[in-house]
């Protein structure tokens, strides 16, 4: 039956008001057990199936499932990030952008950029360095791409509040595009730097995303990925697992009335490949000089190629 496992389950008997609650048990992974960390994190059970958190779902369904999650979390996304990471995500992103060091005139692509945290930081950095008299091309361009329109809408709102969308602004041009990281609506070799922060683990086909990144980057262009990773420091790992599984969904429930989406979030972190494996994947996609740096002992990591 494992092949038929779908995460759509728990049907309420439709006949009468008697059976209010169904006794059907959700079908889970075959062995019925779950572990905080999984060793076989990146191998799906069969070719047309993949993981959605700890669940196994059909590959073609994953995109929609992830889409549903992000539609729901979009409007409280930023608040929740602050609550879950106690504000530390801001430090990670600051460090990430500072490592990237975007200069005026660059053409940046921020994939899964959603609410714009990375894009706005790049914008600020680039505008602070831009001379006042520069033309549009000299100022550069930032494209924020996301598959989820709800997340993009939040980002665009923030841009409006910062007055970036008006043509009189001095920084790089920002554009907000709805698109799929697996099939970028961008021409080959046009991007100076490709960033993806906390988005790649939600993609269905990570090697394909990496190959697409390789395609759109100019020769000498840089790929940078900020993502949750595996913590190897014993003691911290247990604490982190405990916090993730017990408290993060609770914050999700209290703040956005959505326990399940945050449950998905913490599970998807565990399923993502570890630092070394991901580095190999980046190299396989054609990147040279791939490397990584841990943030907070591996809670997050920056991979670069």
């Amino acid at each position: 039956r494992e092949g038929d496992i779908s995460y759509m389950m728990i049907r309420v008997a439709t006949s009468s008001s008697r059976s209010v609650f169904s006794l059907s048990r959700p079908l889970l992974l075959g062995n019925g057990r779950r572990f905080y960390t999984t060793s076989s994190s990146s191998t799906p059970p069969s070719s047309d199936q993949t993981h959605f958190g700890f669940q196994t779902v059909k590959t073609e369904d994953k995109e929609k499932l992830v889409g549903d999650v992000f539609h729901k979390v979009a409007n409280k996304y930023d608040v929740m990030n602050d609550v879950m990471s106690v504000g530390i995500h801001r430090l990670w992103k600051d460090s990430f952008v500072s490592t990237l060091n975007p200069v005026p005139g660059s053409v940046l692509l921020d994939v899964a950029g959603g609410t714009g945290d990375i894009a706005f930081r790049c914008y600020d950095k680039m505008s602070s360095l831009s001379p006042l008299s520069s033309s549009e091309t000299e100022r550069g361009k930032i494209t924020v791409l996301d598959i989820n329109p709800s997340m993009l809408a939040v980002g665009q709102d923030r841009a409006r509040q910062r007055n970036i969308l008006s043509s009189s602004s001095l920084g790089p041009k920002m554009e907000w595009v709805e698109g799929n990281a697996q099939k970028l609506p961008i021409e080959d070799e046009t991007i100076d730097a490709y960033t993806i922060a906390f988005g790649i683990r939600n993609c269905t086909d990570i090697p394909l995303v990496l190959r697409e990144a390789h395609r759109v980057l100019k020769k000498g262009g840089r790929f940078m990925c900020l993502e949750f990773s595996q913590v190897n420091l014993t003691g911290l790992r247990q604490l982190y697992d405990f916090y993730s599984f017990n408290l993060i969904p609770v914050w999700g429930h209290l703040i956005s009335n959505d326990y399940a989406s945050y449950q998905y979030l913490v599970e998807s972190i565990r399923k993502f490949p570890d630092q070394e494996t991901f580095k190999q994947m980046i190299t396989s996609a054609g990147f040279k000089l791939s490397s990584y740096e841990n943030y907070s002992y591996g809670i997050a990591a920056v991979h670069s190629g």
Binding site: Y7, M8, M9, I10, R11, V12, T14, S17, R18, S19, V20, F21, S22, L23, R25, P26, L28, G32, R33, R34, F35, Y36, T37, F52, G53, F54, Q55, D61, K64, L65, D68, V69, T234, G235, Q238, F245, N246, L247, P249, V250, W251, H253, L254, I255, N257, Y259, A260, S261, Q263, Y264, E267
Partner: protein, 267 residues
């Protein structure tokens, strides 16, 4: 009749940890936080009913405190009030169930689990005269624009039976308004909560009664504490067990007669 919507699997935080994998976390200290309602080791984390989110004791305490604070700040978050009730109500729900099991009507309710929503209410309800229980109920609901479908689902109760009891409590709340002849101003809601406190013993009712009372003007508070609350306590004590009543069978009853049957004295 709910369609199978795509919905993320509700999974538990309490996972079965392989001892070999986590040597530093002894099973004894971990079990302090394990879910208490599991009967079988292998099926600890399964949702027991639609919408069930299994939670352990630590999570329940965080949820209780968090929902109390956030619910106080933003009382429009009905889901938080619901969460608070569910995380604090386990003992009271058990005692309500025990009381229900002692009466034949209560046992019938627990066995058949009737559900009160727009589809299960009789369609002729609106034609009943206001002197009947059903007619009065219809007037009450339609004058405020309420629907019985609005009550939040039960999610944090770790037992199917008790989850039903909680749901039933939420659903019959409107019937109790009708019996008491109380409208839905804050003062009157608090008075009904006092009555529910005596009848059900749910800590949530006590919290609402106290906190709700704080929001009233001085004059209202005086009226509440000198007249309405004493009435509520008396009424709650004298009436039969209101959770064990199959209200669905009494829509056509005359309201006054029905109250007498229940020994319920309206305000």
């Amino acid at each position: 009749r709910k369609s199978t919507m795509l919905r993320p699997l509700i999974s538990s935080s309490r996972t079965t940890i392989c001892k070999a994998c986590l040597p530093l976390l002894s099973t004894r200290s971990y079990s302090l936080f394990s879910s208490s309602s599991s009967t079988s080791h292998d099926f600890d984390n399964r949702p027991l009913y639609e919408g069930h989110i299994p939670t352990n004791k630590l999570q329940k305490s965080v949820l209780a405190v968090g929902s109390a604070i956030l619910g106080f700040i933003d009382p429009t978050r009905a889901d938080l009030i619901a969460t608070l009730g569910e995380t604090t109500g386990s003992c009271a729900l058990k005692s309500i169930r025990e009381k229900m099991l002692q009466s034949p009507e209560g046992r019938q309710i627990l066995a058949s689990r009737p559900f009160i929503n727009m589809e299960t209410l009789p369609s002729h309800l609106k034609h009943l005269p206001p002197s009947t229980f059903g007619g009065s109920y219809y007037q009450f609901m339609s004058s405020h624009g309420y629907s019985p479908d609005e009550r939040p689902k039960v999610r944090m109760v770790d037992d199917e039976d008790l989850a039903y009891v909680m749901l039933r409590y939420r659903q019959v709340h409107d019937f109790w308004h009708v019996l008491a002849g109380m409208d839905t101003s804050v003062k009157e809601e608090v008075a009904v909560k006092w009555m529910e406190m005596v009848q059900t013993g749910l800590p949530m009712t006590m919290l609402s009664a106290v906190v709700g009372g704080l929001r009233l003007s001085i004059r209202d508070q005086i009226e509440l504490y000198t007249k309405m609350a004493p009435w509520a306590v008396r009424c709650g004590r004298q009436s039969t067990n209101l959770m064990s009543v199959l209200y669905e069978n009494h829509f056509e009853d005359d309201l006054v007669e029905f109250r007498k049957k229940l020994n319920f004295v309206p305000y």
